[in-house]
Amino acid sequence: MTLTEQLFAQNTVQLNSKIPAGPMADKWNNYKADMKLVNPNNKRKFKVIVVGTGLAGASAAATLAELGYQVDAFTFHDSARRAHSIAAQGGINGAKNYKGDGDSIHRLFYDTVKGGDFRAREANVHRLAENSVDIIDQMVAQGVPFAREYGGLLDNRSFGGAQVSRTFYARGQTGQQLLLGAYQQFSRQVGLGGVRMFNRSELIDIVVIDGRAAGIVVRDLVTGELTSHSAHAVVLATGGYGNAFFLSTNAMACNVTAAWRAHRKGALFANPCYTQIHPTCIPQSDDSQSKLTLMSESLRNDGRVWVPTNPDETRPAHLIPENERDYYLERLYPSFGNLAPRDISSRAAKRAVDKGLGVGAKKNGVYLDFSDAINRLGRDVVEERYGNLFEMYERIAGENPYEQPMRIYPASHYTMGGLWVDYELMTNVPGLYAAGEANFSDHGANRLGASALMQGLSDGYFVLPYTIGNYLAPMLNQPTPDTNHPEFKRAEQEAQQRFNGYLAVGGTKSPDFFHRELGKIIWDYCGMERTEQGLEKALSEIPALYEEFKKDLRVTGNGESMNQTLEKAGRVDDFFQLGMLMCRDALDRNESCGGHFRAEYQTDDGEALRDDENYCHVSAYEWGGDPMKPRLNVEPLEFEEVHLATRSYK
């Protein structure tokens, strides 16, 4: 009996992935042909809550409202347009084959399964690749100004882990333009009354009545007031948990609270140890730094990554002769070169820096050099392609990348793990859905570039509007749950106690202090390279720091007006509990795959060594009442279409 089989037999929750029957390429069509429908005139009788207004949330809310459902949308931002999807730079994949270079839905599907190191659910990924085509059409119809060729047709570029050009882009601001497209479509519905918008409102708890999601409790960030909202279905499109590392490329307010509160109410949290460390970020410059900034992966189309061969090198980059440079990605991965996938490129950078070959004052980066591209294409072309990224780099690093190479280093960027969902994107709590980065389903153990925007929009535009109808149809004419129900009142009281509790500790240290310390532990032991010993250490240090947090936290101000220190305390509390689960999962997964690299499990040349016999499964954890005692459930992964193989980019 393999470990997967043993663990499966011990599951405490029944995990039904609900993958439709039929050949891989027909599954989604079969699903749509068989699903239950809600008559157009009956749709207005159903209310759906959407939490989060990024790509997944805004597109879902807009589409559901267009169909006729009543939608209540919530964001902790001042406007739906602020969601962190906006910061994605490089692009969005679409299997359009506009370049005639042999792309197809099957190839995008295959690249994504392989890119995820064979730890994603095949059927979900195939649907994602199918929808990628419609997303590009939909976004162009919304007026997204994608880059174009002189003839007026759409331009494409390449991203890591692919050998075709299938990435659509809008300068270095693709996420911004896509989010604004979805935000505009969403705003139209707000104007028409199809969506009711609640801004500066943060989800504090999920309410489950009779085993179904009944609604949410939110805190008005301006007044501190807690209110309950009920609906027939609840969608969490609340993003990832990369800020667990404190320093990350995520926006400052990104947090795990919504997903974590759902987890505590019964939703399983899947593959928490699958975190993506992005290879091209600006290295940390000093200890007061609050976040790290990404430099788009698209830069690797024309930039060459290298380090000096001499650890004691002191000359400026342009004076170092060619034979004293190591273009290590081109050397190690000749067929993908500088476009090797993120996890592989990140580890290679870490090894170079660990060997003392790092560049910059702190020797904590590697070069990303554009001098060849500038000589080959001219400065104008390089400026046209990456101008705004170069400017951003100069503002932050104070160096001009046209004249000297950028310095880059990996940083936490995206989380593949998240709430466990079935094929319909429903968690194991009926009526509770998770979309976009908040769920776990499509990227396996590593996400390829330009796939996050694709997944957010696929889930919101082209999956949830169908699957939610299938859930709601049998509930016709049932009222929304009463927000005076004892479960709502209990959740409100608990939330009130929680926030009063933070204010009452009266210790000496700010929530930011604890977040920074927690982040350091997770980065050191559950970052780019993990070991059994390190993870054991993290699992003793995090609970100790958490005890200190409970005793020595200081939150000033009050709970009745805008108080960002208090907001932060709640988010850090949840990051502590999640941090324990991340380390537990990383310790339990005795293999290396994608972004999860356990030093004990590697090939002779230092690549990730999977154990398909024992770990070809999703690890989904049930809340056990104590963050140190989660209950492990597994969903075995079966591959019908793609054959399990060693992932090679050589």
Binding site: A87, A141, Q142, G143, R188, Y461
Partner: protein
Amino acid sequence: MSNTIKNITLKIWRQDGPAAKGHFETHKIDEITDEASFLEMLDILNDRLVTDGKEAVVFDHDCREGICGTCSLMIDGQAHGPQRGTATCQLHMRKFNDGDSITIEPWRASAFPIIKDLMVDRSAFDRIIESGGYITAETGGAPDANLIPIPKPIADAAMDSAECIGCGACVAACPNGAANLFTAAKVAHLNRLPQGQAERYSRVESMVETMDDYFGSCTNHGECEAACPKEISIDVIALMHKDYRKAKFSNRKDLARS
């Protein structure tokens, strides 16, 4: 190489709520690395305030990459501070000198009421977009993306104005508190594209009229363009006015016919 900047004096606007009376509060920063961003300096100050048992200064911020448009701040009377084409979150301390005294205020405009300290309510911008800042294309019916070729100069010009991050610096910098640059940037983005033609005139009409409900009038000072972190040109305002005139003209014709 990083250097240290010494002896900074901050004069920060504090205000408990929309109706409360505000005042300036003075804080000293003895030294800070010039690698720190302006907002990281405020983080450090806030951490110190909390540790000392005082309330942190409330300010809006999020991505810290200059793209989400959440951050604001009038720094020495300039929206987003002294560096051209740069949002506050991308401003670094290397732009300041030893001994500087820096005044930090919220956006000041009647359409942006103060929530607390340096945080304001910019939801009037959302109302403008809701009134017409979109192309009606409901999910599901879109034709192939390459069906309508768009000449590159037109796509590029649309992108130039689509870059607006909705931060509100244009309104804060305007002596009239007008939102013409914000509104016109969206009008120009959508009205330049083939997809935007069907609603071209109804869009501009309803966006301009919603804008007028909340904001002051434009008298061509040009401060908005100077303050815009995306350096959006005021040419877009001319385009908006031209389309608005046409819209009004054609509507009069419609009225005459009916």
